[in-house]
């Protein structure tokens, strides 16, 4: 009996504790990302942002959450009920499971799997299902149009993203996320080696998470709010949480691929005193700031311009860079492993 407990049940309990240690701070981060977004955009537009609930408006996300929780869940009578209810859950769960492979520090990772980057890529490519199912199940024109736009957009930008990831993988010589960061400790951050790819990656993750200037799926001016127009209360909140958790996940991915994950910027005294996870969080925050900055600054793209940018500009450049990377690695005999 004791053997079963220590061999099977205890690791499971530990696993659940680890998962909670990742998920609970993540949800708090999501709540405060909405707050940060409103404050930063407020600052950029010379407004105050939320300031009444709690000191400096710090309790505003809590108030929003409580409000959404007490609203009535309306299911449209002509909706496809099962799919309608599963869609927000899929969006939310997919935004959470990606975190299983993210290394927060050296060895601080829930699942240190060999194909970590492929796993992240798979999770982000599944994200489209939540949206397309929501759009279809709502049985509403606006929602369906939003879903169609969104799936075309996400598939298009995923390809450019894949090419960028392959360039990084070739340089690092591993699909394991921790190994990619360790390779950057030796070779220097890929921000410098792959700088054009870093910029394209930033653009691609904006499109991949349906954020401005590419938020055509929820284009409020032409589609009301797109795929989630029929959703209310907690079902809407799950979409909302999923979108923001995805933003943080994509920022973490960019941090690992280009900004050296948990590594300090310089290997000298005052920087090395700060522990790795803190550096990781700081870098993620920088990329999240870019997300918000883009939202406050840029107007929305038109749909054909979005497709043109993805297929005719970003994809050829990242393809070319991939060939260049491979060529340089082979020519100078730098191929790792």
């Amino acid at each position: 009996m004791a053997e079963i407990f220590w061999g099977t049940i205890w690791p499971l309990v530990l696993l659940i504790v680890y998962i909670l240690v990742i998920v609970v701070p993540l949800l708090v981060a999501v709540a405060y990302l909405t707050y940060a977004e409103r404050k930063v955009i407020g600052g950029m537009q010379l407004r105050q942002g939320p300031m009444f609930v709690g000191p400096y408006g710090l309790l505003q996300p809590l108030a929003d959450g409580v409000k959404l929780f007490f609203k009535e869940t309306v299911i449209p009578s002509r909706a496809n009920k099962g799919v309608f209810l599963i869609a927000p859950m899929i969006t939310f769960i997919l935004a959470l499971i990606g975190w299983a492979v993210i290394p927060f520090g050296d060895g601080l990772v829930l699942a240190d799997i060999n194909v970590g980057i492929l796993y992240l890529f798979a999770v982000s490519s599944l994200g489209v299902y939540g949206i397309i199912m929501a759009g279809w199940a709502s049985n509403s024109r606006y929602a369906f149009l939003g879903a169609l736009r969104s799936s075309a957009q996400m598939i298009s930008y995923e390809i450019a993203m894949g090419m960028i990831i392959i360039s990084v993988l070739l340089t690092a010589g591993s699909l394991n996320l921790s190994e990619i960061v360790r390779a950057q400790a030796e070779q220097g951050w890929y921000l410098f080696w792959h700088f054009p790819m870093f910029m394209i990656f930033l653009v691609a993750i904006l499109a991949e998470t349906n954020r401005l200037p590419f938020d055509l799926p929820e284009d409020e001016a032409s589609l009301v709010t797109g795929y989630n127009v029929e959703y209310s209360s907690m079902t809407f909140a799950l979409f909302f949480l999923g979108e923001y958790a995805n933003m943080i996940l994509m920022s973490a991915m960019a941090t690992i691929l280009f900004l050296g994950g948990w590594l300090p910027p310089f290997e000298v005294a005052p920087f090395t005193w700060i522990p790795g996870p803190i550096w990781f969080i700081l870098k993620v925050c920088v990329i999240l700031f870019v997300y918000i900055w883009a939202r406050a600054t840029l107007p929305r793209y038109r749909y054909d311009q979005l497709m043109r940018l993805g297929w005719k500009v970003l994809l050829p450049i990242s393809f070319g860079w991939l060939v260049l990377t491979a060529g340089v690695l082979v020519a100078f005999d730098l191929v790792p492993g």
Binding site: A122, I132, L175
Partner: protein, 202 residues
């Protein structure tokens, strides 16, 4: 070990149940969604086998791209559910025959492995110990099977170009944005500043 078995039976059960639902579901969109569930669970089975690379590729390629396009098409179709059911009995013998052939083939494979274990053993130990299967696949694909791999790539390219030429329509009346032309345009070419005297107009 018990846990791995439990997970295997869970994944296998869901895969089979989802596969049955693909053909049993009344709504074609539900069918595609169940198909996606079946893909996803078979990816889980691959990972359980230790073939994590294939498992991830299954999710990225089939679930993440192919099934999305499939879902896209099925959602856009205007389907008459009653008409869809009509031909069921007519197609039943053909389907049953295909299923029977597949069953016999599977039985032959497993039967021969059961009788002569050496047949199955050769297939299992394709990778050396200590080499991740991503690396093992790469080593085989880019060395021994390099020309076949390139040929597969060329076939895909031809298919891609074929699909494009088949669906491309030249519409001369469509208004397209030519970004180069827009950027080249100077104010002098299009703007003209005129002094308009009052009460005369231009």
């Amino acid at each position: 070990m018990i846990l791995a078995q439990l997970v295997f039976y869970l994944l296998a059960f869901v895969t089979v149940a989802a596969a049955v639902m693909v053909i049993a579901a009344r709504n074609p969109v539900h069918s595609v969604l169940f198909l996606i569930l079946a893909f996803f669970n078979s990816a889980g089975l691959f990972i359980l086998l230790g073939a994590e690379f294939i498992g991830m590729l299954l999710v990225v390629v089939y679930v993440g791209a192919v099934a999305v396009l499939f879902l896209f098409v099925v959602m856009m179709l205007d389907i008459n559910f009653v008409q869809l059911r009509e031909g069921f009995l007519q197609y039943l013998p053909v389907g049953a025959l295909v299923g029977l052939i597949l069953l016999v083939e599977l039985a032959l494979v497993f039967g021969s492995i059961a009788m002569e274990p050496a047949l199955g053993g050769a297939a299992v130990s394709a990778t050396e110990a200590g080499v991740t299967n991503t690396e093992a696949i790469g080593r085989l694909l880019y060395t021994d099977y390099f020309y076949l791999f390139q040929a597969a790539g060329i076939i895909l390219l031809v298919a891609m170009i074929g699909a494009m030429t088949l669906t491309m329509r030249h519409r001369p009346d469509a208004r397209r944005q030519d970004i180069g032309r827009q950027v080249r345009r100077r104010p002098g070419e299009t703007l003209e500043v005129r002094k308009v005297p009052p009460r005369t107009g231009i």
